[in-house]
């Protein structure tokens, strides 16, 4: 049980700085997910917590104690690696017992701890096997078991599910959530998969190019992204973005003109920006409506491809007046087919506006 605290943490490899000052507090017992594109520094940050990388400047506290110069073994952490990193020459039981043995625990103690962890993860029948004789999912369980037996204050997971196939990934995700509920230990989880982030996290930390973009609960990030990067990274399929220009701004909302000349309302506070400012309009696929008839504030375009998935229809439509492509997640009853003409409706309530600095303008509705 431990909380974590980062103060202006920086990490450089030689000349290039990977983390540009991370400030963050993680509560005791929280499930925190670091999410971001590859190369954003999320794994490096995790390795800094583990002590596998030295911190260049700034401070790291675990359980209130400064940890910058403490070796990994003494930080009260356990880590699950992306590649599992099991010891191939040891049996499953030996793999899990290794850390406790090194710490000088007695044999019965170690055996009891291994047994308990094996029961939690349902791998009792595998204890005598070598990692070679295990499937990917079983190896992952052993790697988690190796972390559990040490009873750490903080669990660190480095993309633990990325090597599993889709079905197993869903199953392990559920188990990890259950494990967190049972152990109630602080967990820090790194992934590039926003679905894992949304489903597992108490709070998500979105990282991009070595900086924290936003920290918040999954739905908070989904509905109130702080900027365009977070808006595009969270949510699948991705949010639609359209370039537009500001026509007018009042206390009740803003009016913007799309590239094809359509003027529509957005529930965002654009006051303070000059008329004609180039903005970006963002709307989630499930909020964008594709209709067959024109109406007030609709933009005319055509369907490039319609994908019928049974419970939903994904319509990929031409961006009005632009070259891009928008995604509409429609009801299965939607009659539109590939090649049809359609009229897009943008409900003002669900339209986000991003300013010239890519930050989200305050929402009004």
């Amino acid at each position: 049980m431990a909380n974590l605290q980062f103060k202006a943490l920086r990490k450089s490899f030689g000349e290039s700085e990977i983390l540009h000052g991370i400030d963050l507090e993680i509560q005791d017992g929280e499930f925190i997910v670091f999410v971001g594109p590859s190369g954003c520094g999320k794994s490096t940050l995790l390795r800094c917590i583990a002590g596998l990388e030295e911190i260049t400047s700034g401070e790291l506290f675990i359980g209130g104690k400064p940890m910058n110069d403490v070796p990994p073994a003494k930080r009260g952490i356990a880590m699950v690696f992306q590649s599992y990193a099991l010891y191939p020459h040891m049996t499953v039981a030996e793999n899990m017992a290794f850390g406790l043995k090194l710490a000088g625990h007695s044999k019965p103690e170690v055996a009891a701890a291994v047994q308990r962890a094996a029961e939690i993860l349902q791998i009792e029948s595998l204890l005598d096997r070598r990692p070679k004789a295990l499937s990917g999912g079983q190896r992952q369980r052993v790697a988690i078991g190796r972390a559990i037996v040490r009873k750490p204050g903080v669990f660190l997971f480095d993309e633990p599910l990325s090597n599993l196939d889709a079905g197993l990934r869903v199953q392990m995700r559920v188990e990890l959530a259950r494990l967190h509920k049972d152990l109630a230990t602080t967990m820090v989880y790194v992934t590039h998969d926003q679905v894992e982030a949304m489903t597992l996290a108490n709070r998500i930390v979105v990282i991009n190019q070595g900086r924290i973009e936003q920290v918040g609960a999954p739905l908070e990030l989904y509905h109130q992204p702080a900027n365009r990067f977070v808006a595009s990274f969270i949510g699948s399929p991705k949010m639609n973005f359209l370039p537009c220009h500001l026509v007018s701004a009042t206390e009740t909302g803003a009016r913007v003109r799309l590239e094809d000349g359509t003027v529509l309302a957005a529930g965002a506070d654009a006051r303070g920006l000059a008329e004609g400012t180039a903005l970006t309009l963002g709307i989630r696929p499930e909020r964008l409506l594709a209709e067959t008839a024109a109406g007030e504030g609709t933009a005319k375009t055509s369907v490039i491809v319609a994908e019928h998935l049974g419970d939903t229809v994904f319509l990929y439509v031409q961006s009005p007046g632009g070259t891009g492509q928008l995604t509409v997640k429609a009801q299965p009853e939607n009659p539109l087919r590939t090649g049809d003409e359609t009229h897009l409706r943008f409900p003002a309530k669900h339209c986000l506006l991003f300013g010239p600095d890519e930050k989200t303008l305050p929402r009004l509705l």
Binding site: A73, M79, Q82, S83, A85, L86, P88, P131, K132
Partner: protein, 296 residues
């Protein structure tokens, strides 16, 4: 093995087999010749591959068994061949063990640690290895004779001097082991570090067990190298009862008289420890020791 083969490919297969068989014959011939010479009466290098009469006189000599002389008296062989063999095995075992210890630890540093001058040191090792030892014989003799003044145990005409000299020739071993270490994911040792292992424990309890096959290969190479090494042994050892097999066997070849038969018998004997060590080491030279560590 069910790939369909074009007819025109068949003669190629035949030719390839022919070539390989010829190669085998070529490789086997010298060995068979040596065996033949050791079983032939008299000391002749030339003659038929299959001796007409078989005589064990050379083998009696090599194994130190007294034989009946022309004057009717039992003559004890004058050269201690078996003692040389023992000396060889002793020096080779100790120096191969020391070389293995030094090269595994040095290779670990080169493969996993960061330090100033790493690249230069690696290149330096490689360059030094490129000069044949023979070129440095004078220097080696001078060094050991000087060392002998301070530490007599490492002086000229001591087995420990030879062990020390052989244990130094590990540059190539370091490169080989370093290459092997680099194929093992560093994450496994990082996991051990998080589990509480010191760098030494991560090396000794995690990395080394996974490297067993390459360690066996290196031990074998170092062992063979020490058994067959002649130049250094010939200048560092003097008394007859201290000689190794390779250095001692030179005494069969006087300027006036080449004792080819005795030489051949001794040569086969010196191959014995190498074969035994190889058979023992083979057990551990298996691949796939690291499989299962990662996702696979």
């Amino acid at each position: 093995m069910a790939i369909v083969i074009d007819k025109s490919q068949r003669w190629r297969g035949f030719a390839a087999h022919l070539f390989l068989i010829a190669l085998c014959v070529l490789v086997m011939f010298p060995l068979l010749m040596v065996i033949s010479i050791s079983l032939r009466p008299g000391n002749f290098a030339t003659g038929k591959l299959i001796p007409e009469t078989i005589s064990l006189e050379h083998w009696r000599f090599a194994l130190g068994i007294p034989s009946l002389g022309p004057d009717g008296q039992m003559i004890k062989p004058d050269l201690p061949v078996l003692l040389w063999l023992w000396n060889s095995v002793k020096v080779a075992t100790i120096s191969a063990t020391v070389a293995l210890f030094l090269s595994t630890t040095a290779a670990y540093a080169f493969a996993r640690m960061k330090f100033v001058g790493k690249k230069a040191a690696l290149m330096g090792l490689m360059l030094m290895q490129m000069f044949p030892t023979v070129l440095a014989l004078v220097a080696i003799h001078a060094i050991f004779s000087r060392i002998g003044h301070v530490f007599p145990i490492f002086g000229v005409d001591s087995h420990w001097a030879l062990v020390l000299a052989y244990s130094g020739g590990i540059a190539l071993h370091i490169w080989t082991i370093k290459g092997f270490y680099e194929t093992i994911p560093a994450e496994i040792e990082e996991a051990a570090t998080v589990d509480g292992a010191t760098p030494w424990q991560a090396f000794w309890r995690v990395l080394l067990p996974m490297s067993l096959p390459i360690l066996m290969v290196i031990f074998l190479l170092a062992f063979i190298g020490a058994i067959i090494e002649y130049p250094q042994a010939s200048i560092l050892l003097r008394s007859q009862d201290k000689l190794t097999m390779a250095a001692g066997m030179k005494q069969f070849l006087y300027a006036q008289k080449y004792l080819w038969g005795d030489f051949a018998a001794a040569a086969i004997l010196s191959g014995l420890p190498i074969s035994i060590v190889f058979i023992l080491a083979q057990r551990w030279m298996i691949s796939g020791l690291t499989s299962g560590a990662n996702k696979g």
